[in-house]
């Protein structure tokens, strides 16, 4: 039955696409939500089919995590083809995406039909997959009906990351780390592994990037729900407990970590870890391969996850008796206490060792006691009480399970790193949504509640998580909520600029503007800017100084500022954000790189005569793009 359902859905989709092709033409696919969703789903699950059909491994497991290497390998092959044929990457890359769509369909057919000859494994697997996705569908409805607005993009990270596939596609660039392709990455946090996948999802086929990001936030949790479900099913042997676990995991909004909320390098790395953990026990060669996969995916959480796998392999696996397990459990608890107290006493890595990084940002990147404790608690909310109960339960168990200790170990590592407070320590909350939920579900399942009680308990747990998630998500949206109530990084007034940049290609143009507009220009116009949202503080100050007092001297000072490359034709994009800053003397944005005014509706009644004159001196004319944008070119 599940085979038939899956095949019917897929054939239905393909039929719909054929129909759309003949009625609306090829161009319509760029804005078609169903096609974008299909593209994202097939791209994210292609490695699973590769693992199952080609490598004869599990659909969701260690090999499927490794199979994600398909995307960078495919990209490299396309670069080779481009070099051999003399074609540009923008001509070749779309064929790669189409090839992947066809490959997915072939592999899917082979999975379903080929499998039927030797029993009915695919029927069972697809049944399990649909069971796992059911709570994710409920989650998607909850989130996208009650919280998110249509076509909202609520992570500036997406805009930053898309500049890399943009450069690959439009400029034919090949880069190992994103900073080699785009000047928006001040530090090397990952390789371009993630960006080759993102390119397939949002850039290489020319789909609308804004719609792609929106749909990605819907499809990513649907895909991730499957291995979470399978892990929980393995632990509890119960479908309903596993489904509850999936729902609770997705309803955990980890601030900074964003476990299953956004598709980012760090969450992709977490997805890899979850796939890897489907293997009950990793052998040494597998562990080495897993480490080699996790490290390039993210240079901070990758080592954390790899370290965790080695902790399981070297320590937890070798715990032989209850005494050793008890000692480890107590050590974990003491570590939390120690690092928490050290933090309360004022210890912080960012303050002690990372003062240079703080100078770049303009302020501390972490909240401090008591705000940091409150912020961390809010990630799970009242769920922490159940984590505590689960810990006590493990502690008093006569026969302790190594899996429980591993789960507690991960949570402990996250807390320790958080309280050590290196820059952006909130990222170490990542994984909480998975590890805490597996621990809690396992604990509750073991208690063996009667059906009625179980039903009540499910209702209460969903309410606890649902309420906390709703508050966390909405608080997160605060920055993205514009004056007109729209909650998105894409501002209505900015659409005129996006349209202008789409219609008027500006090759060899280097734009300087306010940091937020620069991000929009770089992400959606593929035009170089002064490090976009990460425009250095001093450059911001020099830019504002020039705008307020335009003369050869202040212009020269601006030209020699950090982030402005010599020899480039510098074009000023005057915006409502800048105008408001000058008119209302609002200058916080020049002292902190995260101080980004999102609203762009302040009317530009008049641009200073001095500025117009000085720009004329530089042979720049005014181009009125809209009421909110004036380009000097």
């Amino acid at each position: 039955m599940f085979d038939a359902i899956s095949l019917t859905i897929n054939i239905g989709m393909l039929g719909y696409f054929m129909f759309s092709l003949f009625t609306d033409g090829l161009q319509s696919f760029a804005n078609n939500y169903i096609f974008i969703g299909y593209l994202i789903f097939t791209t994210l699950t292609l490695p699973n089919l590769l693992a199952r059909v080609i490598f004869k491994s599990r659909l969701f497991g260690f090999v499927s995590a490794l199979s994600f290497l398909y995307f960078p390998i495919q990209f490299l092959l396309q670069v080779v083809v481009a070099n051999l044929t003399g074609l540009s990457l923008s001509e070749i890359l779309p064929f790669g995406v189409i090839f992947n769509l066809i490959l997915w369909n072939v592999l899917f057919l082979l999975f379903v039909i080929g499998d039927n000859k030797s029993g009915n494994e695919s029927e069972f697997t697809l049944g399990e997959i649909l069971s796992g996705m059911l709570p994710a569908i409920i989650y998607v409805i909850f989130t996208f009906v009650l919280i998110r607005q249509r076509d909202s993009v609520i992570a500036l990270d997406y805009l930053q990351h898309i500049t890399v596939p943009n450069k690959m596609f439009n400029n034919g660039m090949l880069c190992l780390v994103p900073g080699q392709c785009s000047n928006l990455f001040l530090q090397h946090g990952y390789t371009t592994f993630y960006h080759t996948i993102l390119g397939n999802l949002s850039t290489f086929l020319g789909t609308d990037p804004i719609k792609s990001f929106y749909v990605l936030d819907i499809v990513f949790p649907l895909v991730v729900s499957i291995p979470i479900y399978l892990k929980l099913k393995e632990v509890t042997k119960s479908t309903i407990w596993a489904q509850l676990g999936v729902l609770l995991a997705l309803l955990t909004f980890v601030m900074g970590g964003y476990d299953f909320v956004f598709f980012l390098p760090q969450t992709l790395t977490l997805y890899f870890l979850i796939l890897i953990l489907r293997e009950k026990e990793l052998k040494l060669p597998q562990l080495i391969l897993a480490t080699l996969l996790l490290l390039p995916a993210h240079f901070i959480v990758g080592p954390l996850f790899a370290g965790y796998l080695w902790f399981r392999f070297l320590i937890v696996k070798n715990l032989n008796n209850n005494k050793e397990k008890n000692i480890l459990l107590l050590l974990l608890a003491l570590s939390i206490l120690f690092f928490c107290l050290a933090n309360i006493a004022g210890f912080s890595v960012e303050k002690l060792l990372q003062s240079d990084a703080l100078k770049v940002v303009g302020s501390a990147t972490n909240p401090y006691y008591p705000s940091n404790i409150s912020a961390y608690i809010q990630n799970l909310g009242a769920g922490w009480l159940l984590v505590l109960l689960a810990y006590i339960s493990v502690l008093i168990q006569k026969k302790k399970n190594k899996e429980d200790i591993s789960l507690l170990g991960f949570i402990t590592f996250g807390i320790i790193f958080y309280f050590l407070a290196p820059t952006y320590a909130h990222k170490f909350g990542i994984g909480l949504a998975f590890f805490a939920i597996v621990l809690i579900i396992k604990y509750l399942w073991q208690l063996g509640f009667k059906p009625v009680m179980k039903l009540v308990l499910f209702g209460l747990l969903i309410s606890i998580w649902g309420l906390n998630y709703f508050v966390q998500y909405n608080k997160y949206l605060k920055f993205y909520t514009q004056k007109d109530g729209t909650a998105s990084a894409i501002v209505q007034e900015d659409k005129a600029l996006i349209e202008y940049l789409g219609e008027n290609k500006l090759p060899d143009t280097f734009i300087i503007s306010d940091p937020y507009t620069q991000l929009i220009v770089a992400a959606l116009g593929n035009i170089d800017t002064v490090n976009a949202q990460y425009m250095p503080q001093k450059t911001r100050q020099n830019f504002l100084e020039y705008l307020e007092d335009p003369n050869p001297e202040t212009y020269e000072k601006l030209l020699t500022s950090e982030g402005i490359p010599g020899g480039e034709d510098l074009n000023i994009l005057y915006t409502s954000r800048i105008h408001r800053s000058i008119e209302l003397d609002d200058r916080a944005w020049i002292y902190n790189i995260y101080s980004l005014p999102i609203n762009n509706s302040f009317s530009i009644n008049e641009v200073g005569e001095d500025l117009v004159e000085d720009q004329k001196r530089l042979n720049k004319d005014l181009i009125y793009i809209s009421d909110n944008f004036i380009l000097f070119k």
Binding site: H426, I464, L467, N592
Partner: protein
């Protein structure tokens, strides 16, 4: 038996969890008698009567009421506010402003407690030569003319306007109002580090 107690404990914990979650949601969703706007070089407490109270660093002054009147934050060399992206990511529940004018530093933390009450903490570090009678003064500017009166409770001043009553409690209350009846001046004996811990209670008719 152990399982029974664990089950019981679990039920109690889950019920406590429900209470805490509803409480958190209620705190988030409840209608508040104020909105904090943390922009430019001031902190604004917007009231439902369309008026607002503004605390502007530029208005802080050091005075002996005779010869000296200095404004330590008339010029600003650094401003930090947590009202934008940073606040969304770091998830702090208070509003923060840090102003610097070379060696002079001023930090404001506004923490909404519930729908009516707000804690305001202002710490100002300045470097002026000590003089007898020298005062550090901050201003709470209201957008309308009003009468500032003392509350029955010690250390409190209040005013009423357009259906809203605003009570300001300062444990070391030493205040004055300006002639235009729009500004409350809160004074401290001058010292290099001056701290204010104010409590505001805002009650408005529905």
């Amino acid at each position: 038996m152990k399982t029974f107690y664990l089950k019981l404990l679990t039920i109690i914990v889950v019920l406590a969890g429900i209470y805490l979650s509803i409480n958190r949601y209620h705190q988030y969703a409840q209608y508040k008698n104020f909105e904090i706007i943390n922009e430019r070089q001031s902190m604004i407490i917007q009231l439902p009567n369309a008026e607002y109270i503004e605390i502007i660093s530029r208005n802080d002054h050091v005075t002996d009421y005779k010869e000296i009147t200095e404004k330590p934050f008339n010029v600003v060399t650094n401003i930090q506010k947590n009202s934008t992206l940073e606040n969304s990511i770091m998830r702090t529940d208070f509003f923060y402003e840090y102003i610097e004018n070379k060696e002079n530093k001023r930090e404001v933390i506004i923490t909404p407690i519930d729908s009516k009450n707000i804690d305001i903490n202002i710490t100002s570090t300045t470097a002026y030569q000590f003089k007898e009678g020298l005062k550090y003064v901050i201003q709470l500017d209201y957008t309308n003319k009003t009468e500032f009166r003392e509350t029955q409770e010690l250390g409190g001043v209040y005013f009423e306007d357009k259906g809203c009553k605003v009570e300001i409690y300062d444990p070391n209350l030493d205040y004055d109002a300006t002639e235009n009846r729009q500004t409350l001046l809160l004074k401290r004996e001058y010292s290099p580090s001056v701290e204010y811990n104010l409590k505001l209670t805002i009650s408005c008719k529905d």
